[in-house]
């Protein structure tokens, strides 16, 4: 049931970091889908009682995988997980309802090849409620690589602009810089550093990263280069991540799913596997040009999907699970496989602890976006559990007691006392991802913002509180109430 196009949310407890309201009792005025200043004459603004409710902007998922061929492959490869509720990779219609019922109103699919953009948009057109956008994979296609190798900045910018225009993209992403070239020419199962030239062009992964970031900045795209760096998932890959961070040297860049890139240990040596977060977070905290999303894993069954074919192949080889890969002509490819994260698995427990370590030691929440890299680390409907892990140390300690004992003993997590406040949770789920993505009209409740608003009933069980918003408004329309979807308006497609 929708409400009038004008209304006022009366007397809620506002958490709106962008307007520096932290638990302030206030009203939120809505007209024609936008937040408006308090009017001189309140006539015609029917009140909706928000007294006692926590009011936040609608959630923004900066890095998810919800549409396109790889997501369809994920639906097909694990039919047993389609029968769980929610399905590990939900149908597109269900995806919109589940996100909205969780209080989220905007989502980005973080890896779409340009060739796949039309079919991804056809699918996203059926994603109800949410505003949505896609990041287009760059540096996998032959023309862009040629321009990068030739240090032809204007040509590179023109190609990226054409890609964004043709693919109706919001941002540009690089997945494993140079990886497809190494992969397609034979490299299997080992690291590649950032300074080895590609087998078919005189350009290195580091140069790809640096030149792409410059081109994205020159184009003035709303979101900086979205970076999934090399060697995802491999022991010892923290060095690659540190070198990746150093490469940008003041250039804006967003580091995707850093959890998967923060492992210590020797080459393919499980015994020395561990956390490489400390040096990375030190660098991150000291460099404001960098932002990140974590890609937290949570325990359970899911499906991994990536534009990084090499990473998927490595995991498929190690586990023997079904594996789908597809190489696109003159572009990259993708890899998809089911995965089960287990508390008692040494590796999985490390991954879980490493993600939390990132969240809890990165000092500036405005540069951190909460994500599970859905569905890679966990289903997006598990976000409330992750929020409780961040905000409730006792809950975190209980969870820590269940994981592999070696990780419990060696991870710095046990010594970390930090608890996120409601305001900080609001930052990492709304304000920061909106700002990082370059969405001026989202992630806040100031005048001019989209009237995407979520109302929660306060509860000391934060997972419960964030699982079941009392009301969710999208562009001023009541779309969900107490976990039930009320109406299914069309969302907008966000293009740069």
């Amino acid at each position: 049931m929708s409400v009038a196009h004008r209304f006022v949310l009366r007397g809620g407890t506002i958490h709106d970091p962008a307007t520096r309201r932290d638990g302030v009792v206030d009203d939120v005025w809505v007209e024609d889908g936008k937040i408006v200043p308090p009017p001189a004459d309140a006539t015609g603004f029917p009140p909706i009682d928000a007294a006692g409710l926590v009011v936040m902007p609608g959630g923004v998922d900066l890095h998810s995988h919800v549409a396109g061929p790889k997501v369809n492959a994920g639906r097909r490869i694990a039919p047993h997980l389609a029968r769980s509720r929610p399905a590990a990779v939900p149908a597109i219609h269900a995806t919109g309802g589940l996100y909205a019922a969780l209080g989220y109103t905007t989502v980005f699919d973080a890896a779409i090849a340009t060739a796949a953009a039309p079919i991804a948009h056809a699918e996203l057109a059926e994603l109800p409620i949410l505003d949505k956008g896609i990041y287009l994979l760059a540096a996998d296609d032959a023309d862009t690589l040629d321009a990068l190798a030739a240090r032809d900045g204007p040509r590179c910018e023109a190609l990226l602009a054409a890609k964004v225009r043709a693919g109706r993209g919001w941002a540009v992403k690089v997945a494993n810089p140079g990886g497809p070239s190494f992969w397609k020419r034979g490299r299997r199962g080992d690291h590649h550093d950032l300074d080895t030239p590609l087998p078919d062009r005189q350009v290195t992964p580091r140069q790809i990263l640096e030149r792409l970031a410059r081109a994205v900045r020159a184009l003035g795209l709303p979101h900086p280069l979205h970076v999934h760096t090399a060697n995802l998932g491999l022991p010892g890959n923290w060095r690659t991540m540190l070198e990746t961070m150093r490469t940008f040297d003041g250039l804006p860049a967003h580091l995707a799913h850093v959890q998967f890139h923060s492992y210590s240990g020797g080459d393919l040596d499980e015994g020395s596997f561990g956390s490489g977060v400390a040096p990375l977070v030190d660098h991150f905290n000291a460099h404001e040009n960098l932002t990140l999303d974590v890609g937290q894993i949570l325990f359970g069954d899911t499906v991994a999907m990536t534009g990084d074919s090499a990473a998927a192949e490595h995991l498929a080889h190690a586990t023997g699970v079904p594996w789908m890969a597809h190489d696109l002509h003159l572009e990259g490819g993708c890899g998809v496989l089911p995965i089960a994260y287990r508390e008692r698995s040494l590796i999985h427990a490390w991954q879980w602890a490493i993600g939390l370590e990132w969240f809890l030691t990165a000092t500036d929440p405005w540069r951190v976006a909460l994500s599970t890299d859905h569905p890679n680390g966990a289903h997006f409907t598990a976000y409330p559990v992750l929020m409780q892990l961040l905000a409730d140390e006792a809950f975190r300690r209980e969870a820590l007691a269940r994981i592999h004992p070696a990780v419990r003993a060696r991870s710095p997590l046990a010594g970390i006392r930090r608890e996120y406040s409601l305001q900080e949770l609001c930052i990492v789920t709304r304000a920061a991802p909106a700002r990082i993505a370059g969405l001026a009209h989202k992630g806040h409740l100031g005048p001019g913002a989209d009237a995407d608003v979520t109302l929660y009933r306060p509860h000391r069980d934060l997972a419960r509180m964030f699982s079941l918003p009392a009301k969710v408004f999208k562009a001023g329309i009541l779309v969900a109430e107490d976990g039930q979807v009320r109406t299914l308006p069309e969302g907008a497609t966000l293009t740069a």
Binding site: N72, A87, W183, R188, H317, W323, H326, D327, H329
Partner: protein, 297 residues
């Protein structure tokens, strides 16, 4: 004065009445159809609570689809042209059946035909898989075993291997499973991929069905929030053979196996044929929507 809406065409109205009267409907067809046509067909199926299956081979096996058991390592055909230096034609002859694809076999590539005479496809795929994975040489000797050894050596020499496969009549799914495992085993060692001659004209229908219902076919009851994928039970051919549907909405061109199954059903089955055009399908959907709730057919 506001003009009155035009009444629905007689054919959609009468087709809608027959669909509503049916005990259970199967929506099938859509070979070569567009995304919009597939969307409209899936909308019809969801409105009717119908089964949906387009007759693709990979859902028509009681042993379950290969993808869920082993996956699939594939590539665009042009990748074969650009990269492959060994092309294995597995149980197919694209020069005869798919000349456009055959033209993408690069001149530089060695071409090997499998399975060799005297061996089943499954036996050859399993033996070659064993040889590729550096298992012990089989003691037995036979021409087909020697052919598999030669194929293994060709794979070892190659830097990129394309395996071209075709639809087969294997009723239990072991053959595609064995070939997929072989391709996967090679791909863990060097660039390799399968190029399937199957089902490319069902691509749009399968994509839409998957994002709507979670699988590319064999959906027992269409539901926009998901669906149950029941391979070997809810494929079009099996639903027809078991007489579990009494009405088929045939959208455009049907898979041959489905047409054959329809023909075997005789007069017990109502078959409504509609063009795979979004306008025609939307017209039928509108006619369904105009029926008053509970109206008698």
């Amino acid at each position: 004065m506001t003009p009155r809406p035009a009444p629905p065409a007689a054919a959609p109205a009468s087709d809608a009445a027959r669909l509503v009267a049916a005990r259970r409907v199967l929506v099938t067809g859509l070979a070569g159809a567009s995304v919009d046509a597939a969307r409209a067909a899936c909308d019809l199926a969801a409105t009717l609570g119908a089964a949906v299956d387009f007759g693709a081979a990979d859902v028509d096996r009681p042993a379950g689809p290969t993808i869920a058991r082993a996956g699939a390592v594939t590539a665009d055909p042009a990748e074969m042209h650009d990269r492959a230096d060994l092309v294995i034609l597995w149980g197919c002859d694209p020069a005869a059946t798919h000349p456009a694809l055959a033209a993408l076999v690069p001149a530089r590539a060695a071409v090997v035909r499998m399975p060799p005479g005297g061996a089943t496809s499954i036996d050859a795929a399993r033996l070659l898989h064993h040889l590729v994975c550096v298992g012990p040489e089989p003691e037995a000797d036979a021409p087909w075993i020697r052919a598999c050894r030669a194929a293994r050596e060709a794979i070892e020499r190659a830097s990129c291997v394309a395996v071209v496969t075709a639809t087969n009549a294997d009723p239990v799914g072991l053959e595609p499973w064995a070939v997929t495992h072989l391709v996967r085993a090679i791909a863990h060692r060097k660039p390799a991929f399968e190029i399937s001659l199957d089902g490319s004209d069902l691509a749009a229908a399968e994509a839409v069905c998957t994002w709507r219902h979670g699988a590319s076919g064999a959906i027992a009851r269409a539901d926009r929030d998901g669906g149950r994928f029941l391979p070997g039970e809810a494929s079009a051919r099996r639903l027809l053979e078991r007489r579990e549907v009494d009405c088929v909405l045939a959208v455009g061109r049907l898979a041959t196996a489905v047409e054959d199954a329809i023909a075997r059903c005789g007069d017990d089955l109502e078959v409504l044929r509609v063009a795979a055009e979004p306008a025609a399908l939307r017209s039928l959907l509108a006619a369904l929507d105009r029926r008053p709730p509970g109206a008698a057919p």
